[in-house]
């Protein structure tokens, strides 16, 4: 059993980097606009953006089969967009409209699209892990070959749910890929001060599962490792943990001014903007030029803006909606 020592097997990402860049651009545009709209009071509730972490969402989300499962976190917009959640109905949900993907009953922290395997953002830290293990059980039991992804932050790995879920996935050899986005901060606290074992991969040996750390700001590296991990799962080799090292640009929630973060740390990570890392490689290889990349980004911004304008015009949910969907029949 090895953790973080085995060389990555060669695995091509299923989509070209240009497309991964486009997904990151969409997430960046969406999150940037959502942060502004929240600041301006147009979006109610709590909002947690994933600015700076786009490469993890795009790299994982676009390296899976269409029917694979994804369970994610309160910081889940990027994961949903990368899995193809429809932008208009997602934005409408954040605006709390009746036409939102959850009819205005979920909101930013609970956007979900089960028809596309998206089991939802989830506002309980660590909850995605047991749920993804259960999705893996279903896939195995029903012999579907589907892989279940659990996204979670390094702040979740001190929860009992993490340990119990990893152990279950291991003993039952489930097709589950556990994707830890290590953005260094567990809400307001430096997570390195909350454990003696800050590298999440180092915990996995205790459960007998394989794990690898990856540069979470390098979309190509994330995509390659995810494709490899998913292929392992489909081959019946059991669960795999990916620790994607990245950084949260904004606060834990929008409105958190992050007084607990050193300026130089923020600056250093912003220098490693995942979109710029990818853009540099794309232009260096000649796959794209700057103008093309700029145009991808402006198209993404236009797409998002259209969803905002649409959401603004939509009516609030019908009051009767509050009573619907408590029970099924």
């Amino acid at each position: 059993m090895s953790t973080n020592t085995e060389p990555a097997q060669a695995a091509s990402p299923p989509v070209p980097e240009r497309d991964l860049f486009a997904t990151m651009a969409l997430i960046r545009a969406f999150e940037t606009r959502v942060a502004e709209l929240y600041r301006d009071g147009e979006i109610p509730g709590f909002v947690h953006t994933s600015l700076g972490q786009e490469a993890v969402a795009a790299g994982v989300g676009r390296s899976l089969r269409d029917d694979d499962y994804v369970a994610t976190t309160h910081r889940g917009h990027g994961h949903c967009l990368a899995r193809g959640m429809e932008v208009d109905s997602m934005m409408a949900e954040l605006f709390a409209r009746g036409a939102g993907i959850c009819h205005g009953k979920g909101g930013s922290m609970h956007v979900a699209d089960p028809a596309h395997g998206l089991l939802g953002a989830n506002a309980i830290v660590g909850a995605s892990l047991p749920l993804a293990v259960g999705a893996g059980m279903s896939s195995k039991h029903l012999k579907q070959g589907r892989v279940a992804i659990a996204f979670f932050g390094e702040g979740a790995v001190n929860q009992g749910a993490f340990h119990e879920a990893v152990n279950l996935a291991a003993i039952w050899d489930l097709p589950v890929v556990l994707v830890c986005e290590n953005n260094i901060y567990a809400e307001f606290s430096d997570s390195r001060t909350l454990t003696r074992v800050p590298a999440v991969v180092d915990r996995c040996g205790a459960y007998g599962i394989e794990a690898r750390a990856v540069d979470g700001n390098d979309v190509l590296a994330v995509a390659a490792l995810t494709a490899d991990a998913a292929a392992r799962c489909r081959a019946g080799k059991g669960p795999f943990l990916i620790e994607a090292e990245t950084y949260r640009w904004h606060g834990h929630y929008e409105g958190d001014s992050q007084p607990y973060k050193p300026e130089e740390e923020i600056d250093a990570w912003r220098e490693r903007d995942p979109l710029e890392v990818s853009a540099a490689r794309l232009t260096a290889s000649g796959a794209c030029n700057r103008e093309e990349l700029d145009s991808i980004r402006s198209e993404a911004a236009t797409r998002v803006e259209a969803s905002v304008e649409r959401a603004r015009t939509l009516p609030a949910p019908d009051p009767e909606e509050a009573y619907a969907d408590v029970f099924g029949s």
């Binding site: 089991l119 506002a123 047991p130 059980m137």
Partner: protein
């Protein structure tokens, strides 16, 4: 379900009826799994799942590690993705370590996704004082669950209901908390050829003077009280707290004008309070006397059998209270 014409009605124990219900559920639907601590090869600590492992194999009857948060959460994830788990929590008191999957996931995700997620799952849990099991293995917490929108709460009091309500709970598209009182496990009775649906209360004994509403183990206590006291008791077995069949209660109270509610759970903030409030509001003019409640006093259940006896509602207390109501007016 067999028709009344074939198979003569035979007496069996409550525990056997539960086992039969699970076996039928597993047989009739390949998506049904049984999951819990020691439910497999060991047959369960109360032998409720005895024989199921040998009959259906380790893929359908699954032993979980002692990690309720993990395996109950995984069962919820499995229910979201196509399985219909019957998950066992060995003692109801243990929900303290796995409440999140029930409270925040199973109960809420259908609603938060506007019905896009279905969570057909049965949480079987065993409880009951009177066996000197101490405060951490004796508490009746059904009112907690009835207080959570999105959960059904089912409490079979008879052998027939042990089988039929369990089967109905498995077939139900909603999460069901299924409460078994272990003092009922050894009781004997017949299977009902024409079972009442889940959500309907049953008039277990007809009487004209006092309506006694109860459920679970206390049904036997109330039926005994009806034999012992002077008042003519109409005993209603609720069978489920959610849904709560108020119509059957109202119909009875309209005739008797007197209501006594009896449960083993602590009286304060118990199910009796809700029923008393509804009847006092809706049938105020038809009540001859104030509504009375009998539950366990608000103390943790002590270990000593003598102390347990001093706290638990007795048939004498029930008949005494009923006679007092008749004397009052």
């Amino acid at each position: 379900m067999s028709s009344a014409a074939e198979a003569p009605v035979t007496e069996r124990r409550y525990i056997e009826a539960l086992n039969e219900g699970m076996a039928t559920a597993i047989e009739e639907d390949e998506r049904v799994i049984v999951l819990g601590i020691d439910v497999g090869a060991g047959g369960g600590i109360f032998r409720v799942t005895r024989g199921l492992f040998d009959r259906f194999g380790p893929e359908r009857v699954i032993d979980a590690p002692i990690a309720e948060m993990g395996y109950v959460g995984a069962a919820v994830g499995a229910a979201m993705t196509g399985l219909r788990p019957i998950v066992e929590i060995m003692f109801m008191d243990f929900v303290g370590v796995c409440l999140d999957p029930i409270l925040n996931q199973a109960a809420k995700l259908r609603y938060m996704t506007a019905g896009a997620l279905e969570i057909p799952i049965v949480f079987r849990m065993q409880t009951g004082a009177g066996k000197a099991a101490g405060a951490q293995h004796s508490q009746s917490l059904e009112a907690w669950f009835a207080h959570v929108p999105g959960l059904k709460v089912v409490l079979p009091a008879t052998v027939a209901d042990a089988r039929d309500l369990l089967l109905e709970s498995v077939r139900d598209p909603n999460p069901v908390v299924f409460v078994e009182n272990r003092r009922l496990y050894g009781t004997k009775g017949d299977i009902d050829a024409d079972p009442l649906p889940l959500g309907k209360a049953r008039v277990a004994r007809q009487g004209e003077q006092v309506t006694v509403v109860t459920y679970g183990q206390m049904l036997r206590t109330c039926l005994a009280a009806a034999e012992e006291g002077d008042a003519a008791l109409e005993v209603i077995d609720l069978r489920s707290l959610a849904p709560l069949d108020m119509e059957t209660i109202y119909a009875s109270v309209r005739r008797t004008g007197r209501l006594l509610i009896v449960h083993e759970a602590v009286q304060d903030f118990g199910a009796g309070a809700e029923i008393a409030a509804r009847v006092s509001t809706d049938l105020f003019d038809e009540l001859r006397t104030p509504v009375r409640r009998i539950g366990t006093p608000s103390v943790p259940m002590p270990f000593s059998p003598d102390l347990e006896k001093a706290l638990l509602p007795t048939s004498k207390a029930v008949s005494g209270a009923a006679d007092a109501l008749v004397a009052e007016g």
